[in-house]
């Protein structure tokens, strides 16, 4: 298959520091989600399902695990000829002393040489931290149909929450963007930017080259590039997305996004065979459910061994719930183990963490979800 006209770049450099110990060793896009996935599986699978062949992944913070994870492009089917997933960490170049990405736009600017190899007509810029299913090909069709210079995907949010987002003010009829306001105290519209952009590459390339040299720029799409485009009276349009979209910035929201999967009518619908989310193929056994197990309202994946009780919880690859243990309203990340008689309530147990025999973690009436990132000793 010939490489298509749109190339995707995923911004995956963010640390996600509000996820605390979960992102000590991995960047936010590599954080586990939904039993068997990582967050970055969503934009990558969306690209693959949208017929995009070449995806650059811009990494920066703690990128060893993310780099090696993403480099196996075959996982998402992005492995035919002319296709691939390319990991693009900052590199030292002959003419500059730069070794970090100074902002979202700078991350693209520093990889103009990479993009030029493919000479795409359109550039799709995505964030690696969001959970959603979206057909970018439909967004491109909208972009072409509006003869846009840039298109920004937006989602309607409740007006009272709009001041937490970057908000697009539009002309209402054609959804042409008139103004972009970052976190407005008094929002005029409820169209929040999803951090998904389609640009005409030639135009963006010119702007990025200028932006690189501008000492006053933050080198950021939201703060610099979009305002410049609007200032130049370019045609910017808002593409309205309907469906599930979640930015899992905090432990509470990561927990919540997992809990959303338990709702019978959840909009994300990971079981949809026409839009599969691809991920690493692990060689674990099927799920083993023991003789004393009780499972109600749970999302459980391969490699798990459930011998105790699981209620309202999401259990990730290879996690184990031993006899007499109870896991309630909780998330067990890959390889977490809840030993005999231990109880986990309203908690998120990090990768590989062991909850010792008879231990109690979390509490039923806590305001926030407790993150358990270190081994909890049990009663011996």
């Amino acid at each position: 298959m010939k490489q298509n006209s749109m190339l995707a770049m995923i911004l995956a450099g963010g640390r996600g520091s509000r996820l605390h110990d979960l992102t000590n060793k991995v960047a936010k896009p590599a954080v586990s989600y939904g039993g068997k996935y990582r967050i970055i599986d969503f934009p990558l699978s969306n690209c693959a399902n949208s017929g995009i062949d070449v995806v650059g992944v811009l990494t920066q913070y703690e990128s060893v695990e993310l780099n090696s994870y993403v480099a196996a492009g075959g996982r998402w089917g992005l492995d035919s000829k002319n296709s691939g997933v390319y990991v693009l960490p900052p590199r030292e170049k002959a003419d500059t002393g730069l070794d970090v990405y100074r902002g979202t736009a700078d991350a693209i600017s520093q990889n103009i040489d990479f993009i030029d190899q493919y000479d795409p007509e359109y550039l799709l810029v995505l964030s690696g931290d969001h959970i959603y299913k979206m057909n970018y090909d439909k967004m491109l069709a909208f972009h072409k149909e509006r003869q846009a210079d840039a298109t920004i995907a937006v989602i309607e949010v409740p007006l009272k929450e709009a001041s937490r987002f970057g908000i697009m003010n539009t002309d209402g009829e054609t959804d042409r963007i008139t103004e972009f306001v970052e976190k407005p105290p008094v929002p005029e519209s409820n169209l929040a930017s999803m951090g998904i952009y389609i640009f005409n590459w030639k135009l963006l390339r010119k702007l990025l080259l200028a932006d690189m040299k501008n000492p006053d720029s933050n080198h950021d799409f939201g703060k610099d590039i979009i305002p410049t485009l609007l200032g130049d009276e370019k045609r910017l349009f808002a593409y309205r997305f309907k469906g599930y979209w979640k930015d899992v910035g905090t432990i509470d929201s990561l927990w919540e996004a997992n809990m959303d999967l338990l709702s019978p009518d959840n909009e994300l619908d990971l079981s949809d065979l026409t839009w599969k989310i691809y991920t690493e193929d692990v060689t674990a056994l099927p799920q083993y459910i023991g003789t004393e197990a009780r499972i109600q309202n749970a999302y459980i994946t391969q490699g798990c061994v459930i011998e105790g009780e699981v209620t309202n919880s999401v259990i990730f690859t290879g996690a184990k719930v031993r006899p007499g243990a109870k896991v309630i309203d909780s998330v067990l990340m890959p390889g977490a183990i809840v030993e005999d008689g231990a109880v986990v309530i309203r908690a998120l147990v990090a990768n590989g963490v062991n909850i010792g025999k008879g231990a109690l973690v979390g509490s039923a009436d806590s305001e926030h979800i407790e993150l358990i990132a270190k081994r909890v000793k049990g009663a011996e």
Partner: protein, 371 residues
């Protein structure tokens, strides 16, 4: 490892698994929910460092071919390694001609072009794990001509009736390979696994062909046992031979117990299979499940006990499934009661409310059937 190439052999003429085999060869049978039978021999070879593998198929190859594909999921080096699927035409008029020797003879060119000094032959209808690199070392050290793998069992009167047994002397020399007539409890079941030099293998194929068109590899080894030094090596760990419907059902049931499963599965010895990219399994409010093995992508609202669910099964409210093997994509309707069944792929049981068989004679529901 450059020493040996691998052959995954399909079942011989006297084996027939009623029902399931109408649709696919035994190698393509779903096993324990997420695997197919052929995953075990191929993973054993791959984990042993053997990455030139020939897979012999006789009939209905479609599902097997699509499962194996490029073989990439078996962790085989994409340049030096190769998975070859070799077809042989079956003789439709008389099954007596459909021997392993006939398959090898028909593909002699492919065997001759292998440059490895040794060959490991392993069946696709038996479930076990073994490190062939160690067995090859043992074989070389023993200076035997042929090494055969066997499993000592104490229930040969009632099970393994389509298998061969090895008669051994005290030094583990093989005196003969014979059919299991079920007249003794303790037997050394032949695991249809051979290690020998490639040269000898080719010689045996030619000799067998010259003596009788109906000879199998086991027959020619028996015939020449006075000239050959044939030794047995005992296998430990889980072993199942899927050589009739009951043994298929039993082998699945045996592995519901995690302790039993741990004698087959070792984290250091992964069993590879083709991923289907199914999402995790969703257990709803009304689900009741215990002592079962479940694959990904299922939706469970009903009750499941002592059973195995393949990928993407839908179990509706008030459905009850006991002691059954449900293959992938099956749907069990509201209030349907199923007991002691093997339910083939994509079956929908919606209108019939009770499908219960005697535990001694489990039932079979045909592929894609609607009940």
């Amino acid at each position: 490892m450059y020493k040996a190439f691998g052959i995954v052999n399909s079942s011989s003429r006297n084996i027939r698994v009623e029902g399931l085999e109408d649709y696919r060869p035994i190698g393509a049978f779903s096993f324990l929910g997420r695997y197919r039978m052929v995953d075990f021999p191929i993973s054993n070879l791959s984990n042993s460092g053997i990455d030139r593998i020939q897979i012999y198929v006789k009939e209905k190859p479609r599902t097997l071919v699509s499962h194996i594909g490029t073989g990439r999921h078996y962790n085989i080096n994409s340049k030096s390694g190769r998975l070859q699927i070799l077809f042989t035409d079956s003789d439709q008029r008389n099954n007596i001609y459909n021997t392993d020797i006939a398959s090898y003879y028909e593909n002699m060119e492919c065997i001759e072009e292998m440059h490895h000094p040794y060959v490991v032959i392993t069946p696709d209808y038996m479930v076990y794990t073994a490190d062939f690199s160690r067995l090859i070392e043992q074989h070389i050290q023993s200076e035997a001509d042929i090494t055969l793998l066997y499993h000592a069992v104490d229930n040969a009167k009632d099970a393994y009736l389509n298998c061969n047994i090895l008669n051994l002397n005290k030094q583990k020399g093989v005196l003969s390979i014979e059919p299991n007539h079920g007249n003794a409890k303790n037997r050394n079941i032949f695991m249809d696994t051979y290690i020998m030099k490639r040269e000898l293998f080719i010689e045996l194929i030619r000799k067998a062909k010259a003596i009788s068109s109906a000879f199998t590899l086991a027959d020619i080894i028996n015939e020449l046992h006075n000239e050959l030094d044939v030794r047995g090596i005992s296998h430990r760990g889980f072993f199942a031979s899927i050589t009739d419907f009951q043994s298929y059902y039993d082998a699945n049931m045996d592995l519901i117990d995690i302790k039993a499963a741990q004698t087959l599965f070792d984290p250091e010895w992964p069993i590879y299979t083709r991923t289907n990219d199914s999402c995790p399994t969703h257990y709803y409010e009304t689900a009741q499940i215990r002592n079962s093995v479940v694959s990904n992508g299922c939706q469970v609202e009903g009750t499941i006990e002592n059973s195995i669910l393949g990928r993407g099964c839908i179990i509706h409210k008030d459905a009850v499934i006991k002691n059954s093997v449900i293959l992938s994509g099956a749907e069990i309707g509201e209030g349907v009661h199923i007991e002691n069944q093997v339910v083939d792929k994509m079956v929908k049981i919606l209108h019939v409310k009770e499908v219960v068989s005697d535990p001694a004679l489990p039932g079979y529901i045909k592929r894609r059937d609607i009940l």
